[in-house]
Amino acid sequence: MNTPAPSAPGTALIAALQTSLGADQVLTASEDIIPYGFDGTATLKQRPLAVVFARNAAQVSAVLKLARLHHAPVVTRGSGTGLSGGSVPSTAAIVLCLVKMDRILELDTANLTLRAEAGAITQTIFDAASAAGLFYPPDPGSMKISTIGGNVAENSGGLRGLKYGVTRDYVMGLEVVLADGSICWLGSKCVKDVAGYNLRDLFVGSEGTLGVITQVLLKLLPQPAARQTLLAMFSRMDSAAETVSAIIAAKIIPCTLEFLDRKTIRCVEDFTHVGLPLDAEAILLIETDGHPAAATDEALKIEDLCRLHGATSVKRAASASEAALLATARRSAFSALARLRPTTILEDVTVPRSELAGMIRDVEAIALKHDLNIATFGHFGDGNLHPTILTDERNTAEMHRVELAFADIVSATLARGGTITGEHGVGLAKKPFLRRQLGDASYDLLKLVKRSLDPDNLLNPGKIFDL
C-alpha cells in the first residue's frame, strides 16, 4: 500500500482524485472553493481543501477509498441548503458534491415507486410524480433546489408533516457507499420486507456521518383529487390552539395547518400589504385534500370550528387562484422576516402539538428577556415552530444575547417534552444540546454506531456530536 508524502498535505490526495475523476471535476482554486465553505446556515463558514464532483457510485467509492488512504475527512453535499451546518466543511475536508448525479432513473407506476440519483432535485421528483398523476408529499421549503439525497440525509420535513409525515416515511430503499468504499443496497420495492436489521432507516437522517447515499427509492401516493384552503384570524393565540385541538378531535387531519404569530403577521403585512389585521395574534392557514366531496365537507366543518373557537374572520378559497392568494401570507413569512436585519437565524424546535401555544408564549418572553427581535411561524399541526431570530452577526454583544436566548429556547422546549430539531438536523448548530435531550445512554449509542460504520471518523466528522 502506498503512503502519501507527508511533506505536502493534500497534494498527493488531490493528484490522485484528479486521476480518478478527471482534473476538471476537482476544484482547488480559491475562487472555486470559497463558495463551498457554507450551506444555508447563518454565520458558519470553513474553507475546504478541495471540492470534487462524482458521477456515479463507483466514483464515490473511489473518492472514499482515496480519502481513507490519505486520512482526509469527506463532507458530502447536495445543493447546500441545510439549516444546521450539516454540509459546512470540516477542517481540511474534501467536499464531495453530488449535484451532477441528478437523474431520475425509474418511475414505476405499477409499484408506485420512483428511483433517482442522490443529486436529483426534490422539485423535479415532485414534478415527475405529478406528471404521472402521483404524489411525492414531503415539501421542505428549499425543495426547488434541495437534492433528494440531502433530504434523506437530513430527514427533511415540510408543511405536510401532520397528514403525510416526513422524508423518512417515503424512503423504501437506498444505495449507500460505506466508509471503506463498498457499495450496498438497503431496502426494496416490497411494502413488507423484514429481512435483516432495518439499516435503511439508520441512514435516513444520518447527516452524512455514516455513509454516502447515492441512490434513493421513493414511495409515491396517488395524487389527491381536490384541495380546499382556509385562512383564519384569531385575536388570541390560545383560541388558535383550541381550534387546532378541536379540528383534530373532530377526526379531521388537514394536510396543512400553518400558523403565523403576531410579530410575523406585522412583518408580512408591511411587506405584502395583503390586508392582514395588525391586531391579530395568530393566523392559521389550513388545507384539506382528498376526494372532492370529503375535502369540501372537511373544509366546511373546519370553518365552523374556527368560528366556534373565536376566529375573528375565516376565509375559504373558492378557486385555485383564491387559494394561492390566501397562502400568500404564509408563503411570504420567511421573505418578509429575512429582509429586516442583515442576519436571519431560522430555528426549528418542536414540541408535542398540545404544548405549542405555550411554547410560542415562552419564545415571546425569551425575546423580551434578551431584548431581541424574534418572530415565530411554523407548522401547528406537528408542533414544529420556526422561531426566527433577526439580528446582525457583526454585532458581538447582540450575538451573545442570541446565544443565550437560543439556550433558553432549547431549555423551554425540553421542559415541554420537545426536541431541539424537528426537521433541520443537528449538524453543528444543535450539537451542544443533543446530549441533554437524549440522555447519556442513547447519546453514547450514537457514537457506538458511528465507530462501527466509520472507524476512522472521516465521514462528516464533528457533526451531530464529537467522537
Partner: protein, 456 residues
C-alpha cells in the same frame, strides 16, 4: 473615485443568507452546476474580497463577466439582496484593477463605451453607413462572393447577426411634440426615450409607443437627439461614464415638467429608473434624479397605471385571430418587476390569444453584449429559449427589449431561414398601436376603459 466592494454597505453582502433559492433560476449555474457560477457563489467571492480574504483576480473577473446580469436571482431571492448593485460595483472594480485588460479588449471597450455610445450623432452616422451597406447590395455582394470570409473570426461570426437598420430613425418619424387628436381636459405630459439600438433598428417601435400614448390622451415630448442612457456603461464597469450620461439625460429632460418619463426597452428602463441611486452623491443632480426615478415608467406599466383604453373590435370585418406568446425581457421583469402589465396589454387586444411559454422569464442569451462576449453560453440559452417559444406554436412572439428582439430573430434566421411558418417578433405596443389603427379605420374608436390598477 469608483466605489469598491470593500466600500459598499456591508449589510448588502450580509443580506445574502446563502439559502440557495437563486440557484435554479440562474442560467449559468444550471449550465455548470458549480457554485462559483451562481449568484450565491459570486456574492461569497465578493464578500471574501470585501473581507480581504481574496484578491480581485483574473479568475474573479472572468466569473463576473460570465454572469449574465439577468437579475433572475433578484426575483427568486427571499431576502431581497441588491445583486444589481453588487454586480455593477464588482465589474467597476475589475475594470479599475485591470485584471482582464488586453490591448484588443481595451480598444473595443474604448470604441464602444467611450466613443460610439456617448455620441448619439456619431452613432446615427455609423447606423446610416451600416444601412447603406445593407440596402446598396454591398452586403449581399460580400456574402455571395464570400468576401466576408476575409473578416477576422469574431467579426465573421457576428456579421450575419448584425441588425437590419431601418430607413428612418426615430427623429424622422416622431415630431418633438405631438398632441392627442381629442385633447382631454387635463392631458398628461410625458417624455418618450428613444434609446440607441431602438432608435436605429426599431424606430417603428418608438413611433408605436408615441401612438399608443397619444391614443390615451397624452401629450408626447420626444427630444430628437437623445444621449445613451448609460446602461451599457454601468453594466460593463464604467460607472463614471454612466453618471456623465445620466447627467446629460437630466439636462435634456426635466422630470419636474412631466407626469411620466417613458421607456420602451427593458434593458434601458432597468438602468434609467435607478438614476436616483447612481447620482445620490451628486448634490447638483440628486434631487432631479430622485424625481426622474419616481416618474420613470415602462410604457406598458404606465398604460396600465393610467387605465389605457381597450381597443374596440374592428367594424371593417371579423377580427383576425392571432396567437401570441410573450418572452419577458430580464431587465423588464427582474430588473423592473414589470411582468403582468405587458400581458394585460396583449390580452386587451381583440383577437389575441395569449399562450404562455415555459421559462418565459429566462434570459434569451442576449444580455446586453453577452452574446458577443460569451457566444457559447449565449447560444445555449438562445436554443433553449427558441425551443420553448416554438413549442407554443404561437404565430407571434411579443417582447419588449431590442436585445431580446434581435437575439430571437437571429435564432429564427439560423434555424428556420425565413420560412413563412416562423413566428414574427413584435413589441407589445406595436400590436396595441395596430389595434388602435384598425379600430380607427373602422371609424369606431370605442372600447372599454380598463380601470387604473394599483397592482404595479
Amino acid at each position: 473615485m469608483i466605489k469598491k466592494l470593500a466600500d459598499i454597505d456591508y449589510s448588502i453582502l450580509q443580506q445574502c443568507m446563502h439559502c440557495g433559492m437563486c440557484l435554479p433560476t440562474c442560467p449559468t449555474y444550471v449550465e455548470t452546476k458549480e457554485e462559483r457560477n451562481s449568484p450565491r457563489g459570486r456574492i461569497a467571492l465578493m464578500r471574501a474580497i470585501a473581507d480581504g480574504e481574496l484578491a480581485v483576480s483574473k479568475s474573479f473577473g472572468d466569473e463576473m463577466y460570465y454572469c449574465l446580469g439577468c437579475l433572475a436571482c433578484t426575483t427568486a431571492c427571499p431576502a431581497g439582496v441588491n445583486y444589481s448593485e453588487l454586480f455593477e460595483v464588482a465589474r467597476a472594480e475589475i475594470e479599475e484593477k485591470g485584471v482582464l485588460d488586453s490591448p484588443k479588449r481595451d480598444a473595443i471597450r474604448w470604441f464602444a463605451l467611450r466613443l460610439l455610445f456617448t455620441r448619439p450623432r456619431l452613432l446615427r452616422f455609423v447606423g446610416r453607413l451600416l444601412w447603406l451597406w445593407q440596402v446598396s447590395g454591398l452586403q449581399t455582394f460580400a456574402r455571395r462572393t464570400r468576401l466576408v470570409k476575409l473578416l477576422p473570426g469574431n467579426l465573421r461570426r457576428l456579421e450575419p447577426q448584425a441588425p437590419v437598420i431601418q430607413a428612418k430613425f426615430s427623429h424622422q418619424l416622431i415630431a418633438p411634440v405631438e398632441k392627442p387628436v381629442a385633447t382631454p381636459p387635463a392631458p398628461r405630459r410625458v417624455a418618450v426615450l428613444t434609446g440607441c439600438v431602438q432608435d436605429l433598428v426599431f424606430a417603428d417601435i418608438n413611433r408605436a409607443t408615441v401612438d399608443v400614448l397619444l391614443a390615451n390622451g397624452c401629450e408626447v415630448h420626444t427630444p430628437p437627439v437623445q444621449p445613451c442612457c448609460g446602461s451599457l456603461h454601468a453594466h460593463n464597469g464604467d460607472t463614471g461614464t454612466a453618471r456623465e450620461l445620466a447627467r446629460r439625460q437630466l439636462d435634456l429632460i426635466d422630470p419636474f415638467t412631466f407626469d411620466a418619463i417613458i421607456s420602451n426597452a427593458g434593458g434601458c428602463g432597468s438602468h434609467l429608473r435607478h438614476y436616483d441611486h447612481l447620482l445620490e452623491n451628486d448634490p447638483a443632480y440628486r434631487e432631479r434624479a430622485v424625481e426622474w426615478s419616481r416618474k420613470l415608467k415602462d410604457v406598458s406599466e404606465y398604460l396600465v397605471e393610467i387605465g389605457f383604453r381597450k381597443p374596440g373590435a374592428s367594424a371593417a370585418g371579423p377580427v383576425e385571430n392571432v396567437s401570441v406568446t410573450y418572452h419577458e425581457s430580464c431587465h423588464l421583469c427582474h430588473g423592473q418587476k414589470v411582468s403582468k402589465q405587458p400581458r394585460e396589454l396583449l390580452k386587451a387586444i381583440p383577437g389575441v390569444e395569449l399562450r404562455e411559454c415555459a421559462e418565459a422569464s429566462w434570459c434569451c442569451g442576449s444580455a446586453g453584449i453577452y452574446n458577443i462576449t460569451q457566444p457559447e453560453t449565449a447560444g445555449w440559452l438562445q436554443e433553449r429559449k427558441l425551443g420553448h417559444l416554438l413549442a407554443t406554436g404561437a404565430q407571434v412572439v411579443a417582447t419588449a427589449n431590442p436585445g431580446c428582439h434581435l437575439q430571437i430573430e437571429n435564432s429564427l434566421k439560423t434555424t428556420r431561414g425565413s420560412t413563412a411558418s416562423a413566428p414574427k417578433i413584435v413589441h407589445p405596443v406595436v400590436l396595441l398601436a395596430n389595434a388602435y389603427l384598425a379600430e380607427e379605420a373602422s371609424g369606431r374608436p370605442t372600447g372599454n376603459v380598463i380601470p387604473p390598477s394599483n397592482s404595479v
